[in-house]
């Protein structure tokens, strides 16, 4: 048949975009898809709940809790951190990863995404980066809210003494870093589970089940090796010294385990997902 495209033009192999370009483009698209999603709202407001609880406790009962005098900050920060870290933080990570991955599943967009000129590595890396950033944003917002709530208590309840003592910023910074590291292991597990099953129910079910099981297993000598327990161990690792908050300026053992889980699960998960058929 006659053809206008028989020249070399259609036979030359088009250039594939460089790996970094693919990742950048995928990330730009992923950020756009985040608009008006539950994942974004969850990130922005989730930190408020533990802070609100702690604020109320100190607002109404602070005079009992702090009757020893001295700086109220260590007690306030550790209460807020333990409220958040034991249960809410792992659940937040479970929900966040599931929601971000579900954006594609709900739109039946995996088939579309993998038919675009970006590699599977770019798709995998972009969403992972997005979840890591959202997780960091949520933690930073939480820390900011904790300190803000303390300052507010200083104004509303000057007797508690929040305004007279300085904020233990280095301790807070270390807690932030260590808590972030502690969430990475379970984040990776949840990410792979979400990608593997491509439903919303399975990863949320697995995650909630794991978080609840960990509470029961807390006394086990190997509990520190479970990624879902790491945020808890970090939250309770804070010690109240003589009028100060003592936070180790190094990663604890369970945090190293969390990093190990993160690296190991991502590598194994990626290999598992890489060659898979796209059926939905």
């Amino acid at each position: 048949m006659e053809s206008t495209l028989t020249s070399d033009t259609f036979l030359t192999l088009p250039a594939a975009p460089a790996p970094f370009t693919q990742l950048r483009r995928t990330l730009a698209a992923d950020v756009l898809k985040l608009r008006r999603t539950a994942a974004l709202r969850l990130t922005l407001v989730s930190g408020a709940l533990p802070v609100l609880l702690t604020f109320c406790i100190f607002f109404f009962k602070g005079y009992i809790i702090l009757k020893a005098g001295g700086t109220p900050w260590p007690r306030f920060i550790s209460t807020a951190w333990q409220t958040a870290g034991t249960l809410l933080l792992p659940l937040f990570v479970v929900l966040l990863t599931s929601l971000v991955v579900h954006i594609e599943t709900k739109a039946t967009a995996w088939k579309h995404l993998y038919a675009q000129p970006v590699g599977r590595g770019a798709v995998f890396g972009s969403k992972l980066l997005l979840i890591l950033v959202l997780n960091a944003v949520a933690l930073l917002l939480f820390a900011g809210l904790v300190l803000g709530a303390g300052v507010l208590l200083g104004v509303l309840k000057p007797k508690l003494g929040f305004q007279t003592y300085s904020i233990p910023l280095p301790a807070v910074a270390w807690m932030l870093l260590r808590t972030y590291v502690a969430t990475l292991g379970l984040l990776a597990v949840q990410y792979i589970v979400s990608l593997y099953w491509r439903s919303f129910v399975v990863p949320v079910g697995v995650g909630m089940g794991a978080v609840v099981s960990v509470i029961a297993l807390m006394q086990w000598e190997h509990a520190n090796k479970i990624p879902y327990a790491a945020p808890f161990f970090t939250a309770v690792s804070m010690k109240m010294g003589k009028g100060s908050l003592e936070v180790a300026h190094a990663l604890a053992k369970h945090e190293w385990y969390s990093l190990g889980w993160f690296a190991g699960v991502l590598v194994v998960g990626y290999l598992l997902l890489y060659r898979r058929n796209v059926t939905n």
């Binding site: 048949m1 006659e2 053809s3 206008t4 495209l5 028989t6 259609f10 036979l11 192999l13 088009p14 250039a15 594939a16 975009p17 370009t21 693919q22 483009r25 995928t26 730009a28 698209a29 756009l32 898809k33 608009r35 008006r36 999603t37 954006i103 709900k106 739109a107 039946t108 967009a109 995996w110 088939k111 579309h112 995404l113 993998y114 038919a115 675009q116 000129p117 970006v118 590699g119 060659r275 058929n277 796209v278 059926t279």
Partner: protein, 310 residues
Amino acid sequence: MSTTPLLETRSLSFRFGKRPILHDVNLLVEPGSIYGFLGPNGAGKSTTMRLLLGLLRPAAGSVHLFGHNLAQHRVALLNRVGALIENPSLYDHLTGRENVEATRRLRGVAASRTAEVLALVGLSDNAHRPAREYSLGMRQRLGLAIALLSDPDLLLLDEPTNGLDPNGIIEMRELLRELREQHGKTIVVSSHLIGEIEKVATHVGVIQLGSLVFQGSLRELQQLQTGRARLVLETASADTCRNLLPRLLTDAVATAPGTLWLQWVSNQHTAEVAAALVAAGQPLYGLRLEQPSLEDTFLHLTEAKPELVK
């Protein structure tokens, strides 16, 4: 054929677990054609489309686009392919424009293309509305806009008229024709409706139970159909006629006491049958040529069992 096919599959096979889905499919799509990929539901059309995009890994065989192996150059080759697979993948929480924009960013296409493709499918006025408010036809058109974003040389459209009203179907047909004639696109369009394909396709492939049962130009398919034309003869007693004229009517099939079907051969043969019948003193109430429609041919090709009349 001297030209390299734009799309080619070589002995393509696929199975889900142990269940075979496709068997030894050799598609050949020439540049500048509209290739109608026909088959009943479940014949393997969508599976083939997914294999053409590298979404599924073949059990055997290979896919070649623009003369290159897809398995080796997937990302590079997909740069020149636009696709719409089954129902369009739309993010309901985003507006129509944002949906296009998401894929535009992903492909690194110029920002001006978003407005262009929205205008091309007639969605400019509704681009600000969330996709969840779109009708089925609008969703289909938005999916097509997204497939056209990168101005691809090859378009793969899986049942693109699904959910469209008659007007929408005509518009889609005109759009496909325009894309081929004015923009030199090659289009593979799948459907389970022959009527839809015959109006727009230049070439046709028919798939049945995972095997390609016909491939060729639309004209070749039409010739296949004239070869299957039959003569319908109305008389008093079909059996009497057959006994009287064994030479002419030996292959004829009596479908009713007074009706005979026989294969159409030529005009002379038809005249001979009529003359012989009258000479034998049998009444001739009617004699007509029945041309099976393209639809009959399609059904014939996709029927698992042999037909009643050969």
